[in-house]
Symmetry: D2
Subunit: 341 residues, 4 copies
């Protein structure tokens, strides 16, 4: 069945699988200390222009968010996030499970602003009761956001500047990082993003891998005993090569960026199809997730032929749904969609 | 110095201290299993008209909220609370420290409505992504609220009814319970409140005790191994008599209610003083906390002679401050305040 | 370099990788709800002769132990384990991180006895202070143990019987389950093991997969909201197919058992080589891990040519080291080892 | 009924209650920031000869152990304790509840030795698998121990020296500190104990207070945001004066030491009574807890007339029981006991 349900409906990009095959019979040490993972890390350092960065490989986004946040926060601190942030809403309380509050700030289209963060911090310290409150200990944002939107370079610079002034580490969830970097409206490079953040991750699961997220601490700022904390969270794979080999493939010959670019091309074409057919968008997403407002009747009818994702009710008669593209989306898929519309 | 800073500026009501003295040399078993605590529990059961209720004594409000909530919630659940609720904002993340999310719902003047809660639950289960979200596992509200406001009997009945329909235990934080029950606008009795809730506590610290909150599970619904969980939280006093004796005094000859009534009388007189002097109120509180809007200049001037509590900035030139009464507030205090205004 | 360092030095068994390739381009739903995972679960149910069992796929052993234990225990409970158990010593505190004590019982050669467990429980409840202690809430054992040893059917029946009498769920860590089942001394079948336990897992990572452990709740006894708790632990893969496809391959044509049998054959041959060369064993292991006592000088000399694992110091002059076999160990490897000795 | 059940069978020493009365009507700020608490802290600093120490007041022992340990440990660390330590066995898992392992070391008569600790640390770091283990992050001991035994000055110096060499903070649980300091065999002063430890507490609950433990960080080494963490644990009393006033009384005119000395006198006399009557002791305790071996028949017979505490079974026919003295034990009590024996 035709599917735009999400960006993980297929397995891995063939070149990723191929590299798993090629390295399968190498005898390698465990727990991520193998040369395949080391080469992958080196390629990522190079792509980020951060020769001294520490790179770690984890299996999925929630695990990564949980580990990074809990290893950076002190007992008395929480993480600031947009109220629509993945860690705020869609991780089953994974952050709170580690003892820390997600401090929600209302955002717009999934985004926080530097001014929002600054105002929150100022108000917090001005409150005479703040000693009885959760201290803001870091800032979480996602690029692209859960709504497919992006921060411009100027916006991210402003946020980074507030964070540094206030002493708050800035963490960028890059579960779909490639789709942000390759968006036509994006003006940020990976090295710029690395330099403006304190930790981020390069999502593999949603960009062509079977699983895997590459965590980057760009500034010699890895939390103490990070490997121990990975183990404590059950996040340290015995065969770390599974992650290392996939990322080595993704960062060879720009595969990660080519995959992302392809998905963006497909998304922009899909956007034009919906526009031509006079559908309304819930918001203007420049990345691989497109949020379309469908009359409920049309939605039910489409559902018989194509998979997409319920997002939220728009009103009594209309629903917001999400169509996503990925490495495996083809022109034929778009044509089929067009015909269904 | 004259003080209306809060309702815990003094020690205990003299009759409470007197009872500590009277029972001081009785040889008693530890950890709350003593006959003094048993008599106090019996008096509380009687006041609540809940002959089968379980009653436990804890030392303070945050400890009580943390223990009740963490013992009632399952791993995957969070507690619904007004975004201004004490557990949401002013307990330094004590709930999240136990691994659970506080799910904030916007309220009005510190209050939730049955409709708010119902809509939240309906929306939650209608969301196709709810399996990846924190499940609502109970409802927390405070009576009086953090803004001194009260739920009417009809409002509480509606909330209780939604909770029971949805299978969510209803927990009422009664840190200032007496002030709510004795308010001139209140139409709820203690037995009614007990019958409408699944667990609540009768605050002692802010109503005449040195410390102590009496937790009541009215319906044979105490969480399993509650005493063990008290111990695990460091909340089980070796000399449980300290709490039992105080509550025995408070629930003898209606002392708890007389203390509360006195503070309410004082608060209503104070309210009239502010009104006569043409001050504006931030909201209309019918309990022992009064929220007054002071011009900043006036606030600074008053501060030299009288203690009160900063609440929040109202605008550039005015500030909301709180004046609280308690068992120790006297007519002389009010007269002195009047003269300062 | 020749390596017997552990049973995860290579990638996946070729048939496992092949099945990942074959299923790679199927469009599948996420989070383990796909038909590939469903087929794998069905094959596992069949192998366990548990038609009603619930089966879940996780990525690694520590994650699996953490999730199972924390979802089964109540707040006031801990897990009984041998003091040498993996959860006691070698998981960086993953169990305690979830708030639960590992209650260590001294064992022998990695094993607990029914009598040990029974005596512990009897002593616990006879202790008048037990209300201030951590309640035993379940029993953890590993098959094979961390020392490669096995429980006989009679031993496991006795333990299971104590656990059922005392109301304690019995959890069997099967990270190396296949090597236990295929050992020449083993007298337990997989259906028997399933029937005697309350939850266990079939280790994939160490038995031919790239990653993956299959959790089995044989008796309609899955903890409530288990999928939510997987998500909360960061243990729910978006592309659940990665695990499902591997286990489908492992449980097709008895691959799991054939891999295990091969490794056991290799281990028994290796054992004979050491015996012929007059080396002493630390203990008599009937599975794929062999614990050999090496003179320190010999150990250093061997290390230049072959990888093995330091276990512990035996005395001043000798060291216990571990040699492990796996799906990838070959006769040529054994021959090379023999020549080095 | 005559009782030697424990050292918290009575309320407070009369002078402690008296001071609560005297300060009851002072208008004081909340949460421990009051001048009564400040004076108490100053007196404690003086008694410890630590002019720069930070002093905090908490309500009970388990709460204090939980808060100190969880605020000192990093995520990946555990606390070393004797396997008989209070935190190991008798706090219902309060330490593990905060996510940290109690690492048990076998001790003798409740005591650890410097050599035990040193050997444990050396073995830990020599283990090539230690990256997958819980790192030792601090050392916990109790003075007196749970068996009433004491560390000599030389023993504590040796332990302190190992801890400092290895970088492990040394925490001394002083729930019964006074009884240790006033024991005839003790050769440690309070200033010496303060100087050798990194944090300790002066127990009030068991030495004449209604509740309360005074935590002392002697070396400008209070964990960051300690007050926030108190609040987060539900351990910050609104009326902090309750604790401050009691400790002000206890540290005025050496009351704390006089109470302790009295109890020790009573205990030594009691010891002579048992010796004269030819009873055996389980061990030789020099403090206020005496562990006597009673024939079971005698035990049952005594129990009808006097309260004492079951400790453990000695053999089939005999039981170890504990008799404790306190501020309230009188010569008349001893005489009555003598007659019963």
């Amino acid at each position: 069945m035709l599917s735009f349900a999400n960006d993980y409906i297929n397995g891995a990009h063939p070149a990723v699988l191929q590299h798993l095959l090629e390295t399968n019979c190498e005898v390698l040490p465990g727990y991520g200390s193998d040369p395949v993972s080391a080469r992958a890390a080196e390629k990522i350092r190079s792509a980020c222009a951060c020769p001294d960065a520490d790179v770690f490989f984890l299996t999925g986004g929630t695990q990564t968010n949980q580990l990074i946040i809990s290893s950076l926060l002190k007992n008395w601190e929480g993480v600031i996030a947009a109220h629509t942030g993945h860690v705020s809403l869609h991780e089953a309380g994974a952050i709170e499970y580690t003892g820390h509050k997600v401090i929600p700030i209302p955002g717009t289209d999934g985004k926080l602003t530097a001014a929002d963060i600054d105002r929150f911090i100022e108000t917090f310290y001005a409150d005479e009761a703040h000693e009885h409150m959760v201290f803001p200990g870091m800032v979480y944002l996602s690029f692209p956001t859960e709504y497919g939107t992006l921060y411009s370079k100027a916006e991210l610079q402003a946020i980074s500047s507030v964070c540094r002034t206030k002493g708050l580490p800035l963490f960028i969830d890059g579960a779909r990082l490639g789709y942000g970097l390759m968006s036509p409206v994006n003006d940020l490079t990976l090295p710029e993003l690395a330099s403006l953040s304190d930790v981020f991750y390069i999502g593999g699961t949603k960009v062509g891998a079977l699983c895997g997220e590459a965590v980057v601490f760009p500034h010699n700022n890895t939390p103490s005993h990070f490997i121990n904390q990975m183990k404590q969270h059950g996040a340290l794979l015995a065969k770390g090569r599974l992650l290392g080999a996939q990322f080595e493939a993704l960062f060879t010959d720009d595969l990660y960026f080519r995959i992302s670019e392809h998905a963006i091309d497909m998304a922009m074409k899909m956007k034009r199809i919906f526009t031509e057919k006079d559908y309304d968008f819930f918001l203007d997403s420049p990345t691989n997730q497109q949020f379309v407002i469908l009359p409920n009747e049309k939605m039910e009818q489409l559902r018989e032929k194509v998979d997409f994702c319920f997002w939220e009710k728009f009103d009594e008669n209309r629903t917001v749904v999400r169509f996503a593209t990925s490495w495996s989306t083809s022109e034929a898929d778009l044509l089929a969609l067009k015909q269904l519309l």
